[in-house]
């Protein structure tokens, strides 16, 4: 099935909105050399971890009870 003929819109959607298939950018800091993409991922992980700890979790009513363990 040639998707580009059947549904051009779906074909271009499947082909990615942002084209990352070009030479990447890199962050050089002293002897450290990291790709921007990796720095973003690592940064997001740290932000996510901090957010996960700080953002309140919805509380359910608690009940006293024996352990089900």
């Amino acid at each position: 099935m040639d998707l580009s003929a059947v549904s051009p819109a779906l074909y271009s959607l499947l082909g990615a909105v942002f084209n990352l298939s070009h030479p990447g950018h890199f962050i050089h800091w002293h002897w450290i050399n990291l790709s921007v993409a990796n720095v973003i991922v690592i940064g997001l992980m740290i932000v996510t971890f901090i957010a996960a700890i700080l953002i309140p979790f919805p509380k359910h009513k608690t009940e006293q009870g024996e352990a089900h363990d």
Binding site: L20, H22, H25, I32, N33, V36, A37, N38, K59, K61
Partner: protein, 327 residues
């Protein structure tokens, strides 16, 4: 019965406090939906990289001088792979060591590679017709080992020279379909290298290396090792910031995120002593270090001091702040 003293980095008391409803199946279903939508969005917005594989044909067409110079070192046995040591060759003292121990020598040569035969002579022998080629192959095969070495080394040394800064000066040229070398006593090697170059540029060498005359294969060891000995593959990698000294193990082609979880493995290659006094054994030493560090991570629960870091850093007070507030 004697019991160990309570150690709050190792032990817990029994929970006598409250319980709350917690729907783990619903949570799992929501997680699947959320992750599914996230992954769908990432795939739609960013796609995935797919840079075409490099063939021997491409290498020998786009970087002919490098191909000829590399093939010459495979024939005369001076290439990196020809002197790799186990698992490819029996070269003494080539295997990397951890202290006095060379682990590859213990496991041995399990993937034998003879670069002259595998990358040059055998593929050429498979070509039908070509009387001049088979005459040259015959002359080479029937000469003494010393004569073979004299011809092939003269060819390899004159084809290209490695400068003190690691760059390569190519003296061989490829003009109008002819390999042009500086004058020298190369015997039948000139003809052999001419046909090797033409075989490569036609695509036939790819097939000969991949299948080795057989029908099925799924093993790409030979063409991969041949490619890896040349500068062409290395230059494509370096241009994409994928080289070892460029922290390349963490990187993906293009501008995609790569393997951030390999940060420590990658980092070790960049720092002394791995990059300096241990450089000749860098791979072995990095792996050895990573195994030790992984062991420490794995057995952290049993390591006093390290297992106290969570308590000392007090991040838990944030995680369980409601619990401590109510206690």
């Amino acid at each position: 019965m004697s019991r160990k003293k309570f150690n709050q980095d190792r032990d817990v008391g029994e929970w006598k406090g409250k319980y709350a409803p917690y729907d783990i199946i619903k949570e799992g279903t929501i997680a699947l939906l959320v992750v599914g939508i996230l992954v769908l969005g990432l795939a739609v917005f960013f796609g995935s990289p797919d840079e075409h594989a490099i063939t021997i044909k491409q290498w020998s067409t786009q970087s002919t001088q490098d191909f000829i110079a590399t093939a010459a070192t495979e024939l005369d046995g001076s290439s990196f792979i020809a002197n790799y040591g186990p698992p490819y060759t029996n070269t003494p003292n080539a295997a990397q060591k951890i202290g006095p121990i060379a682990l590859p020598e213990i496991t041995g040569v399990r993937i034998p590679i003879n670069t002259a035969e595998d990358f040059v002579l055998n593929p050429l022998r498979s070509l039908p017709g070509q009387p001049a080629l088979h005459q040259a192959l015959n002359t080479y095969a029937t000469a003494s080992a010393k004569q073979q070495q004299a011809w092939s080394t003269a060819y390899a040394n004159n084809a290209a020279t490695t400068n003190s800064d690691g760059s390569i000066t190519y003296n061989v040229k490829y003009v109008n379909g002819q390999v042009v070398m500086p004058p020298g006593n190369y015997g039948p090697v000139s003809t052999i290298m001419q046909y090797e170059t033409e075989m490569a540029r036609s695509g036939a060498l790819d097939q000969a290396l991949i299948t080795g005359g057989d029908f099925y294969t799924t093993n790409y060891t030979k063409p991969s090792l041949f490619l890896a000995d040349g500068q062409y593959l290395a230059n494509v990698g370096a241009a994409g910031n994928l080289g070892g000294e460029q922290w390349g193990m963490m990187n993906e082609t293009g501008a995609f995120p790569g393997q951030a979880w390999l940060w420590l493995y990658t980092l070790l290659y960049q720092i002394p002593p791995y990059s300096t006094s241990w450089a000749a054994n860098a791979d072995a030493m990095v792996w050895f270090t990573m195994i030790i560090l992984t062991g420490i991570l794995m057995f952290l629960p049993f390591i006093p001091g390290l297992r106290s870091i969570p308590r000392w850093t007090r991040v838990y007070k944030l995680i369980w702040r409601d619990h401590y507030r109510q206690a």
